[in-house]
Amino acid sequence: MSMTATVGHAHADPHHIGIVVEHPGPASKRIVTAYGFWVFLLSDIVMFSCFFAAYAVLVHQTADGPKGSEIFEQRNVVIETVCLLLSSFTCGMASIAADVRNRLWFYLGMAVTCVLGLIFLTLEFREFADLVSRGYGPSRSAFLTSFFSLVGCHGLHVSAGELWLLTMMAQVFAKGFRADILRRMMCFALFWHALDIIWVAIFSVVYLLGSGV
């Protein structure tokens, strides 16, 4: 064995475990982009955890205002949950269609996702408007402040997701399934699925646990 071969393997096997890993070079742009977006999503979830912590601390501070069990409508929450869950599913269908470059199924999946998201937003907006009109706005009590900021922050995320969704449809329409468009589509799908995960925490902690308290 010549000297140069030993030097060449010194980096490939730094811990002398007997396995030489041949690195295929830097990761592809698709992996780097999605990983960076994944880290952003996790930091977004950390931000939501602060709102959840505030809600958990303030849930009993109702200042003689309404308790959660008096203002939450279970039926409304069920419809919202099913809408968001189905939209997560159709978003997955759209991303499969984008991967196989099928325009019809892509537009169909994205359109259904958009409509389901809009139904969700409409229901949430009506719930908020109803509460405010009854005098139970965010300034009524600390409990309502934390409720409006937590659920409203999720609603803002869904609104931003709707705008992003329409942008993706327009970009595919104008530019086709280019590599950079597909990367954006992958990030959008991650974003939409992550919003659904946060909604699972919201309906469990805020609506279901809150109505039992």
Partner: protein, 129 residues
């Protein structure tokens, strides 16, 4: 040098990306995830409104069901698995979860004790006037 085996790392997986599957297999994965998530959601809403279950167990059951449903979403929709090509994604997730538990658990813990350690407000005012 002949005792060294050569292991080749093909590629990592991006978060949300699946290993090579046919379209049919991928669709079935999403359908399975949707059915499981719907079942868990229905169970959550049923348990929250029923009298058939021992009442003090309901909050724990709701939290367990929520965590299970988040797991279903992570596996079937976000395709986070324990495979070797997913290590980076899982490690980032684990770190994020650590921060989430520190923030939520720490806040609830500290604020709960703060409430207990505060004297009632009328006593507090008498002490300082």
């Amino acid at each position: 040098m002949s005792d060294q085996t050569h292991a080749r790392i093909e590629h990592d997986l991006a978060p949300g990306e699946e290993e090579q599957h046919s379209v049919g297999e991928r669709v079935i994965g999403y359908v399975v995830g949707l059915v499981l998530a719907l079942l868990l959601t229905a169970t959550s809403f049923f348990i929250a409104g029923t009298d058939l279950v021992w009442q003090p167990s309901i909050p724990v059951a709701l939290i367990v069901l929520a965590i299970a449903q988040m797991g279903v979403h992570l596996v079937f929709f976000l395709h986070i698995t324990t495979g070797p090509d997913n290590t980076n994604n899982v490690l980032a997730l684990a770190f994020g979860l650590l921060i989430v538990f520190l923030v939520v658990g720490g806040t609830v813990w500290i604020m709960g004790h703060l409430n207990q350690n505060m004297p009632p407000m009328d006593q507090f005012i008498q002490m300082h006037s």
